[in-house]
């Protein structure tokens, strides 16, 4: 592989700042990589080649003119197709928005543009962020670069695959039930769900409004922190946006250290359904943390076992309402004939996939008069109990850890029409989405059974995002030393060209 596509974002940034390489060359190298392997990975729905080249030239010109530039200037970033981007289509992985070009830009992609980052393209995803494999995409699934017959996880599967396949050093995703951390884990990269409200949702097409959290993916902890910092911070266009300084994540990523840190292993995240190879790597990671000076205890969070059912009530309920606007009247697909009512129903029938339809109906059910209290209402109470479990846990430890997801990447097609089996991929990640605190997945090795990556999940209290990076950086450094190379170097799924 071309050196430019193996360098980290931090390294590329330093190289460009030192004048060793141009933004144009960096962008071209990544566009070449996309052309070489994306027909196998299918990570991208849209490659913004011309726009990327133009922006890269602009960055080079500004640097030449002596302008001070932000760290990510000239660094390519892949964007999950859930963010509205002017000049590029935004499909949300759905046929109902095929070809839609939004007339406005999301806050986060605008911040990246302002920082000079190169938005290299829009990545594939489960339709409207509903899924854990990208198999729910209206445009076909993406493939895991480690093994093309396996899923890259979801819903930010395209973003994770793009980073893992070196098509971009950084990517934007969103996490509602685990949709950044689970794909990051099964693709062997780093992914963070920031504290809810820490990154703006303006321009992020809503799936479950009270859970959706935009976040960064990268090959290293530092890279992920760099993106985390640029994309985060208060936005007056988002009422749920937290008005507080962004936690010092980059600083923490540069100084990984767990000495004296109290770490809690969540006892509920083990047992049936957890792949032995994944548990083995997780156990080793915990032992590693101990060897680095952390104090490890077991913590029980008794209501976590209700997190999955609560999530699959709250998220579909909000989604059923959020997706009502897609009716063929103002934008997107319009099909069918007859009255407005008939056209709406025909459009939604044609434009939405099966999982989206399931969740819309589930949400409609849970919110219906007569069912609200027993379903949606009860789920909101469970949410309170989960928050209380976290509060109690964080009263005793500084971070919690678990596997990021119970299994490694499963085969494409294995769970595609088995919703309940698919939902299990989110077992470990959902509680943090319900509580709104922060969590990261960092690679912790390959499972023996299949040689596929497993991720260690670290969870921190709200607004303690930096703590995640401090732990993850320590883990990453120690593992890299033990392995002798970054985990990704072992990925053999792609035919080298």
């Amino acid at each position: 592989m071309d050196e430019l596509i193996t360098m980290t974002a931090a390294e590329l940034s330093a190289a460009m700042a030192a004048g060793e390489v141009s933004a144009a060359d960096v962008t071209e190298a990544h566009l070449d990589r996309i052309a070489a392997v994306d027909d196998q990975v299918k990570a991208f729905l849209h490659v913004a080649a011309n726009d990327a080249r133009a922006r890269a030239r602009e960055v080079d010109a500004r640097r030449k003119a002596g302008e001070p530039l932000a760290p990510l200037a000239g660094v390519p970033v892949a964007v999950k197709d859930l963010f509205t981007t002017v000049g590029m289509p935004t499909t949300c992985g759905s046929k109902i928005l095929e070809g839609w070009r939004p007339p406005y830009e999301s806050t986060i992609t605008q911040r990246l543009r302002n920082a000079g980052a190169i938005l290299i393209g829009k990545t594939n995803m489960d339709e409207f962020a509903m899924g854990s494999s990208t198999e729910n995409s209206g445009y076909g699934p993406s493939h895991n670069p480690w093994d093309l017959a396996k899923v890259p996880g979801g819903s930010s599967g395209g973003s994770a695959a793009a980073v893992a396949a070196h098509m971009a050093p950084l990517a934007l995703g969103t996490d509602t039930g685990g949709s950044i951390r689970q794909p990051a884990a099964v693709c062997g990269i780093v992914g963070t769900k920031p504290t809810y409200g820490g990154s703006s949702r303006y321009g992020v097409v809503a799936f479950a409004s009270s859970l959706d959290t935009p976040g960064p993916l990268g090959r290293t902890v530092l890279d992920t922190a760099l993106l985390h910092e640029v994309m985060s911070g208060h936005d007056p266009m988002d009422s749920t946006s937290i008005d507080a300084p962004v936690p010092p994540v980059v600083e923490a990523a540069r100084h990984g250290d767990v000495a004296g840190l109290r770490i809690g292993v969540v006892s509920e995240f083990a047992g049936d359904g957890y792949q032995p190879g994944v548990m083995a790597r997780f156990t080793e990671a915990v032992e590693l943390l101990e060897s680095l000076g952390a104090k490890v205890t077991e913590i029980s969070c008794p209501h976590f076992k209700y997190a999955l059912p609560a999530y699959y009530l709250i998220a579909p309920s909000e989604a059923s309402s959020n997706l009502a606007r897609f009716d063929g009247m103002r934008y997107g697909l319009r099909t069918g004939s007859g009255s407005a009512e008939e056209v709406m129903a025909a459009t939604r029938e044609t434009g939405f996939g099966a999982e989206v339809k399931r969740r819309i109906m589930l949400g409609t059910y849970a919110l219906s008069s007569g069912y609200y209290d027993a379903y949606y209402g009860k789920a909101q109470q469970v949410r309170t109990l989960i928050i209380q479990d976290f509060d109690a846990a964080f009263g005793q430890v500084d971070v919690l850890v678990s596997p990021a997801t119970p299994t490694t990447a499963f085969p494409i097609g294995e769970r595609a029409d088995d919703p309940m089996a698919m939902y299990l991929a989110d077992l470990c990640t959902i509680p943090t989405d319900l509580a709104g605190n922060a969590a990261i997945s960092v690679p912790c090795g390959l499972a023996d059974e299949d040689g596929l990556p497993a991720g260690l999940q670290v969870m921190a209290p709200p607004l303690a995002d930096d703590r995640l990076y401090r732990v993850a950086a320590a883990v990453e450094a120690a593992f890299n030393e033990r392995w002798g190379h970054p985990l990704l170097a072992e990925a053999r799924g792609l035919s080298a060209r």
Binding site: G328, A345, I360
Partner: protein, 98 residues
């Protein structure tokens, strides 16, 4: 059984989804299975536990009553399937406004 095929058909109508019979045959049992599973939340003892609708604890987020730039009509209508007289043209509406 938590939910019948007829009830699922009703949900589809409420959600403006014109499901075919085949789809209904396929989705109804899946929905039944999912509803049974999520009903697990009812096992939780939650007397006196307040529901959480917002995790951040924020209140009183307002904006000033000051104008900001609008979209142009062209931008607003840019995705519209059909336009007439600078308005969104939609098929005949059957029901009166609720």
């Amino acid at each position: 059984m938590s939910i019948t095929r007829d009830e699922v058909a009703h949900l589809a109508r409420l959600s403006r989804l014109a499901l075919s019979d085949e789809e209904l045959d396929h989705l109804a049992p899946q929905l039944d299975q999912i509803i049974s599973a999520v009903a697990q939340v009812q096992e939780v003892a939650a007397e006196g536990i307040p529901p959480t609708s917002h995790a951040t604890g924020l209140t009183n987020v307002f904006r000033d009553d000051e104008p900001t730039p609008c979209l142009t009509p062209e931008e607003a209508l840019s995705g519209a399937p059909e336009v007439e007289l600078q308005r969104f043209k939609v098929p005949r509406i059957l029901a009166e406004e609720p």
